[in-house]
């Protein structure tokens, strides 16, 4: 087979021009390595986010409704005061609703003698705990009596507890928020950082009545968490909540909602969309880097053809057709590109494994980027090899031999 003989000549050409071969592989190697690493990080982040959502106890039967228009956790207007306890009572009265948790929220500085830290303070009802299913590891959660008496008690997340009390036991101690002193009655189980850097443990919970009358001194709510009886009725419940809130807030039929829903599906969709954005960027990065790799191959091959003009001439003199020369140089560029791709995939695999091993970034190694790497590098070799190969083949034999 003539084509196989040309392949063998291409291999010999690469072996004889090791320096050029190595240089040519570099661009593709870097491109493919970054591609595999970025894919691995993307996959790793996705799977961690999914795990985290599952960990939040955000079951399929629950959702939250936040005050103010916008999307998910990103409100457009922070000064909406329309959400009140009236809304909570009306939602609680709806069929198919199991638990309703009203919430107020503010970032404030909390102080223990000389130690202080800024954390998110939530004013919630005692149903928060069963709705959220977040264990109290030490002490206990506040109850209805604490609510009724507007008692100044607080349940701390791990982060402020650690910052204020270090190794000592915070239970029974007093902390100060603004001018109000609170007694620590419970500690929440530690959840750990999410991938986006969000710290769920950075919070302090106080009874809603206390926050309304003693701390925040406001009656409007930040959000309401709703747990329905079954996941099948969630959609229906959300529609009901929309009607109740629009009516209570006195919105005209043409006005936009002044509240927004946060659902597990919504978060999932958001994750998916971010992932698509990531994929688009990834495609751009790898296209650019492989383009650069391809141009490197093309240029080195063009220079190398000038260096090897005698070789081309000799081959032509002894019977090589134009197509033989084209094939040989095309094989060289494809082989070099595949070699670069293989080296890049290996490097990418090593880097991803290292990232995972040292817990630097989440990484999950999948087969797809490696298959992609093979295809891409083959394509790069073909596309950027064709011009030099044709150029080599079209040199007239009498000129190459002089």
């Amino acid at each position: 087979m003539r084509i196989l003989r040309n392949l063998a000549q291409a291999l010999r050409g690469l072996r004889l021009n090791k320096g050029n071969t190595l240089l040519m592989t570099l661009g593709v190697m870097i491109g493919i390595a970054s591609l595999t690493v970025i894919v691995a990080i993307g996959e790793g982040t996705k799977s961690k986010v999914l795990n985290r959502i599952a960990n939040l106890g955000f079951g399929p039967e629950s959702f939250s409704v936040y005050s103010g228009a916008g999307r998910l956790f990103f409100g457009r207007n922070r000064n909406v005061t329309s959400m009140t306890l009236q809304d909570v009572d009306d939602i609680r009265a709806m069929p198919g609703v199991a638990i309703v948790v009203p919430r107020q929220r503010k970032r404030m500085r909390i102080i223990n003698k000389k130690e202080f830290t800024t954390t998110r303070i939530y004013g919630v009802s005692p149903e928060w705990q069963p709705a959220r299913q977040w264990k109290v590891v030490d002490g206990e959660f506040f109850n209805d009596m604490d609510m009724d008496r507007k008692r100044k008690v607080v349940v701390l997340g791990n982060t402020p507890a650690r910052k204020l009390f270090g190794e000592t036991d915070p239970l029974g101690k007093k902390i100060r928020v603004g001018q109000v002193f609170f007694e620590v009655i419970g500690l929440l189980e530690t959840k750990g950082l999410t991938e986006s850097g969000y710290d769920p443990d950075d919070r302090a919970l106080i009874p809603l009545t206390t926050s309304m009358s003693r701390l925040f001194r406001q009656t409007h709510l930040h959000s309401i968490k709703v747990v329905s009886t079954h996941s099948e009725v969630v959609q229906q419940t959300m529609e009901g909540v929309t009607q109740v809130l629009r009516r209570n807030h006195g919105l005209s039929p043409l006005a936009d909602d002044d509240f927004r829903f946060v659902t597990p599906e919504g978060i999932m969709q958001w994750v998916t969309e971010s992932e698509q954005a990531l994929n688009r960027m990834l495609l751009l990065i790898s296209t650019v880097s492989l383009l650069v790799g391809g141009i490197v191959i093309m240029n080195i091959l063009l220079v190398s053809i000038r260096e090897r003009i005698r070789e081309i001439g000799v081959r032509r003199c002894f019977g090589a057709r134009r197509s033989d020369i084209t094939q040989q140089f095309l094989f060289e560029s494809v082989l070099v590109s595949l070699l670069g791709g293989a080296m890049g995939a290996m490097l990418g695999w090593v880097l991803s494994t290292a990232l995972k091993h040292f817990d630097f970034l989440p990484a999950r190694i999948t087969l797809e980027p490696f298959i992609l790497a093979f295809g891409f590098s083959m394509l790069v070799g073909l596309i950027f090899g064709i011009h030099p190969a044709r150029k080599a083949a079209c040199l007239s034999p009498d000129e190459t031999i002089r």
């Binding site: 003539r2 000799v314 003199c317 019977g319 134009r322 034999p397």
Partner: protein, 245 residues
């Protein structure tokens, strides 16, 4: 010796165009060569002998005129057929050897066999035999850089013969060699001719041209003389005593 014509060149012209300037390098050159003949084409530099060599070697085509090589009209052939003719019918020997650097003598001699339509089953044996004929069987694995000039030129002769071509076309084969090695190479050509192979040697050196039976002189793109070499019989007679090595 058969009297069939292997090369028939009839009034070929070759014009190069360079930046709008036309240069007539060959002006109506006609040559006919019988099979088994030994020809030298002599002329000063700029006489067009290199151009004539590339046309005879099917590396280039004439602007006008006809060229019949072994019955085929070269001027009408495309790249595939020209490549086939170069592969099967012509063995080239160059002044600068043109061996692939870094490639062993064995693999250099192998090159024409790569581009055969069908690689012969005894390819390895043939390469070994060809190298043995030029006395280099013990240096098969050496690269050109490890061989002397004379040895390199002997490798090119082995390479030119590997496909058993009808014509050996040599362009200044002794130009890069000292006189002793040059004489050895010319001896080799004498032997090949004695075996019945057609040899065409292009040179500017009268000593080299004296080996041929027929001497053509080229000047300014025209053949100015075409004479039989009277000393040829003597040199031929002397062949019996000399060997290639």
């Amino acid at each position: 010796m058969s009297i069939s014509k292997i090369i028939e060149v009839d009034s070929i012209n070759k014009t190069y165009k360079n930046e709008g300037l036309e240069t007539n390098v060959l002006k109506g050159v006609s040559i006919s060569v019988e099979e088994g003949d030994y020809i030298s084409i002599i002329g000063p530099s700029g006489s067009g002998k290199s151009t004539l060599m590339t046309i005879l070697g099917c590396l280039n085509q004439a602007t006008s005129g006809t060229y019949l090589l072994d019955g085929e009209e070269v001027g009408k052939l495309g790249d595939r057929d020209l490549s086939r003719i170069r592969n099967e019918k012509i063995g080239f020997v160059f002044q600068a050897f043109h061996l692939l650097p870094g490639v062993s003598a064995f693999d250099n001699v192998m090159i024409p066999l790569i581009y055969c339509n069908k690689t012969p089953a005894d390819a390895i044996e043939r390469v070994k035999r060809a190298l043995a004929r030029v006395g280099l069987e013990h240096r098969m694995d050496h690269t050109p850089g490890q061989l002397s000039g004379g040895e390199q030129q002997r490798v090119t002769i082995a390479r030119s013969l590997i496909n058993d071509p009808k014509i050996v076309l040599a362009d200044e084969p002794t130009g890069n060699l000292d006189s002793k090695n040059g004489a050895e190479i010319m001896n080799a050509f004498d032997h090949l001719n004695a075996e019945g192979r057609t040899i065409i040697v292009i040179t500017h050196d009268p000593v080299v041209s004296e080996h041929a039976r027929r001497i053509l002189t080229l000047r300014d793109g025209e053949i100015v003389s075409d004479k039989i070499n009277e000393n040829f019989k003597e040199s031929r007679a002397g062949l019996a005593r000399t060997t290639i090595e």
